[in-house]
Symmetry: C2
Subunit: 714 residues, 2 copies
Amino acid sequence: MNMRTENGSLGRLLSPNGVAIIGASDNPGRIGGQPVAFLSKQGYQGRIYPVNPKYQTVQGLPCFARVGDIDGPADLAVVALPAHAVPQALREAGAAGIPFAVVLSGGFRESGEDGDRLQIELVKAARESGIRVIGPNCQGVVNLHDQMFASFGAINEEPNLRRGPVSMVFQSGGLGFSVLLLCEMLGIGFHHAISIGNQADITTSEVLNGFLDDPDTKIAVAQIEGLSDGRDLMAIGRRAAELGKHLVIWKIGNTEAGARAASSHTANLTGRYDIYRAAFRQAGILEVTSVEEMADLFAALQGDRLPRGRGVAAMGISGGAGILFTDRAVTGGLDMVELSDQTRARLTEILPSFGSAENPVDITANVFNDISQFDDALNVVLADPGVDQLALLLASLPGERARLAAEAIIKAADRHDKPVMLAWSARRERAAEAYAMLEEARIPIAPHPVRTADCMATVARHVSRQAHLAGRPLFPDSAAPAVQSAGTEPRDHGTLDERRSKELMARYGIPVPKEIVLTGEDVGNEALADLRFPVVAKVLSADITHKSDIGGVKLNLQSADEVRQAVVDIRKAVAERCPDAQLEGILVAEMVHGDAELLVGALNDPTFGPVVAVGMGGIFTEVLRDITFRVAPFDADTAREMLEELRGYEIFHGVRGRPALDVEAVVRILVDVSRFAWDYRDTLVELDLNPVLVGARGQGAIAVDAVVGFQAES
Amino acid sequence: MNMRTENGSLGRLLSPNGVAIIGASDNPGRIGGQPVAFLSKQGYQGRIYPVNPKYQTVQGLPCFARVGDIDGPADLAVVALPAHAVPQALREAGAAGIPFAVVLSGGFRESGEDGDRLQIELVKAARESGIRVIGPNCQGVVNLHDQMFASFGAINEEPNLRRGPVSMVFQSGGLGFSVLLLCEMLGIGFHHAISIGNQADITTSEVLNGFLDDPDTKIAVAQIEGLSDGRDLMAIGRRAAELGKHLVIWKIGNTEAGARAASSHTANLTGRYDIYRAAFRQAGILEVTSVEEMADLFAALQGDRLPRGRGVAAMGISGGAGILFTDRAVTGGLDMVELSDQTRARLTEILPSFGSAENPVDITANVFNDISQFDDALNVVLADPGVDQLALLLASLPGERARLAAEAIIKAADRHDKPVMLAWSARRERAAEAYAMLEEARIPIAPHPVRTADCMATVARHVSRQAHLAGRPLFPDSAAPAVQSAGTEPRDHGTLDERRSKELMARYGIPVPKEIVLTGEDVGNEALADLRFPVVAKVLSADITHKSDIGGVKLNLQSADEVRQAVVDIRKAVAERCPDAQLEGILVAEMVHGDAELLVGALNDPTFGPVVAVGMGGIFTEVLRDITFRVAPFDADTAREMLEELRGYEIFHGVRGRPALDVEAVVRILVDVSRFAWDYRDTLVELDLNPVLVGARGQGAIAVDAVVGFQAES
């Protein structure tokens, strides 16, 4: 269903020349009446074609009996018919040469088996007639630059919505449009808004690509419950960055209860939130989780100035605001820079004696009595080489002083080409001119220092992330089909036993202990000649998973005699406790030691495919669930990043009396596991290396146990 | 300086009958001119007395040469004079019988040594003349119910600010007033607002008590950088609860950088944030960290309905909003209840077929076509016994439908007496009537489901916290001076050695290993007769802190011979590596084992006095800083709560193969340590029990090492 179209191929959907409303109603309150009413009322400049065999005119416009009768250009058909009539309507619209339809009607996959069948019919009708479809079960498509409202609901009634460089697609129309309206009230202008509904044909990812093709869209946003094509989304994230644009995602349905609610809602795939977040990070996608956060980021990202580093200065008229800003800024990873001696000396000259020339700079409200003081202070701080961006904490400064301040800020921001963001909350009616000037100049404003600091910190992290990713492929070359070497061998299905799992790991260069398999009961010394004592003996059987629990593991064997005794004991234990298990032998391995214990795993995620996980072993995993993920395959930098994200990462540096660990050896294992998981993506179910023992720096790391699970033979 | 006044004694400050402005200016823009101008303009009903020997009239009002000349009632003097003239002005105002002053002038403690001296003079003048003082270095005092603006800055120019049951005090005037104005724009009404400045006389705590005395204040709020009287604040928290009111604190200056900024600002005490947060929790104080969060909580708490439990239902017109709400609600600790069979059956009858009768309930936008459906759905869900509160997710529902919905909501909330909160963001001008009705009925509204869920979750946690604390003293009886038994003994100063530290712990009932001290070099068997092998030998010297590092500890000694050898070795090591240390002997203790390692400590915090800390030992403390605090003394419930807050708490339950631990033994140690810390509060510096070994349930816990530090002999 995910038929990828050419770049730019959604252009006629996004900016249609002519809109047909199939199932048009004379009643402007009904779903089939709303688009007719509001396309006219909102000032859409293209032609509007009501289609309904029952009427001659609809809401004063000439009405067409059939879509084929339309006598002018029509790029978009809005379908507002009972579900059962939709497939036929799409065939007719397709036959009439209309390239896109948006199906507002519900009664499809979201409403049970009959609806599911209807949705399959709908897709078939679309494919066969060549029409591309948004929906069904959606609230429509809006283009604010064209005042094009092919939609129903509260959004239609909003006059004069702000236009801007943000385009948004969302799975839930009610939530999506209300979030859009809230952002609008917070000062954000939009271009396109698309309620994507059931995604029977056109998907969220395809729409996002369409947004990126739009030269007037700088920020593409999606609110999603789940996706079927996670890697597409990641690629769009990288594409956005290459175009100098931003991809922002708000993922909902992230808790068990939330995911349950999501499935009762539209039966969309909601996946493991941790993996989504890892994928966002891997692809430079900005994640948001609330409306204010989103609006502030849009305000900051729609301008052309981005910070070059993490250094921030704050200048304000309230000491408390400076403290609050500082708390949040450093918590978010910004560096409250120490201003240079020169900067401080100049500030001391400029400011009243009761101000402060230290960062956060307290300029005092007095500087607005002589705006040149404010101007000077601004320029001095922005000129400081350590300052990558500047926060202006202006409390609720109103009226003429606000206007003068706005003027000075716009001038200074232009001159220094560094981002400036305000924490300012004057009532709009008390500072209308200042707001208008600052918004025109795209100087972002949040109402208080908490939001200003959070936003500036997120932007700085985003910029540094993008710089880190720039010029590197989303996945390393090994991911290209041509380089794939190790195909799944015929015998590899179901769960492999420890020995075969380890053999497979060893083929990928992952260190495993030296070991042999004793198949018989007699153990000659020569069989053990290559092993160094002490050794461990373990039962080898794909049927026995918890080996220790049944007495199937004997540790720390110091001699051949001890091994012989262990073999007898294990065979006896198996015979008694797992009489039906197929015993493949006894595995005897050299004991290895490490200074820390990790677990490394891989799984096959329905949204992202093969994914690698790593966690600190023992308590960290069991109690703290300290695990990080990355979508496979990946390179060493990415693997290193996974480790750094672990809460217990400090252990790698060697804490109190423990040695620093061999980070690079673990990195190699992670990269190799990611290559393995990618190569076997068609059949892999899961991989567990538990534990992986890590030695001190230079001492390596080794997978002491391994279980690979492939799909069962089909 | 913290002269506690009688309850209600701030009444004349908060609602003054007559305000004198000392240093009144004819220029309404100047600090001495603003209160004159805005008291008049804002409609203050009491008399206004400009005082300034230079004028006959000020801004059209008769002006008095001296404060003694005032010819009517004056409860408050606003002082706007150069710093050096303030003490004398206070003396005169006090002599004239004015009970309160607010000193707007800066140039005191915040501005260096000269200012510090002036502040001491100011306090002396106030004490001697009997006048109580707010400030100096503040922006004034406002009472919105009386339109009383004894203040300067942007706040004065705000017409028709909403009145309500919230009163707020803040250290930073600029930040405080702008936060107040923001909350006001978000729909919150205030009563009193006080910029407390340097707190030379009246403190934040005293003001908060004054707010609680005010029958029209339901929510008392403070924005603080730091406090000198932490336990006062805790007591006010409990007092608020007893009065059915709420105490809300926003603490800033919580990071190292933020605290540095705070000290350059007003030199206020900013303390360890973790301890503040523990104290808030202990006293049922609500902490907030942002403006929107604060405003939403005020809206929810100012009504009279509070949830009886954690069960929540959501009802909305957008599936996505339900998912989003659910995610946040369960993350915040709410329980998305399963509706009863009866409720679901009734909902299925009421709702359109494409709605959902499961929680979150999707009522669909169609129910507003026949408002009785909405009405019925509301009543059915609110009647469900599992539902403690209800979220209504109404997107941006505008106009007449919003009005009808508001009517139904108000009726239903009244009938069922359960909290109802909206997520709703219609533009005000598109639903003015609905907003007015809902605000009048004190139905809280947040603009989107994230904030609604967060707020409802916080309220539910707060209510359950208050229920838990209700009827219990803030500190257990042992805190009453009469019950104090163990006074500091004359010899207890400086750092005690391990043996004396342990003896002191043992007197408080804290288990320590059985041990003896060998003072000589000869060790007879009889000296060791009472000990069970294996034992450990450790050097005993207050001069040696890192005993192991110098070879001063010998573990796992199995016989008297091994002990003798250890004594020789340790003495030799000390002689070589610490020749100057005063050796008090060798401590020989039975080795003890535990299934987990904790550390327990106590410290003497400048704000809260004796505080107890507990953390999981080893990696948890070193890498994760997994430590919780409580202000001493406390009871077993509080101690249990400390442990439950640890991220590693699950270990106490016994994870994979480990036994469940003896929680109650640790609880007893914590309670005993808290009693010890309280008893020695005058001289205690710190206590370290590290490690405390904890056995399996029923096996106890024991402090293996102990160091008590008292203040050095003075």
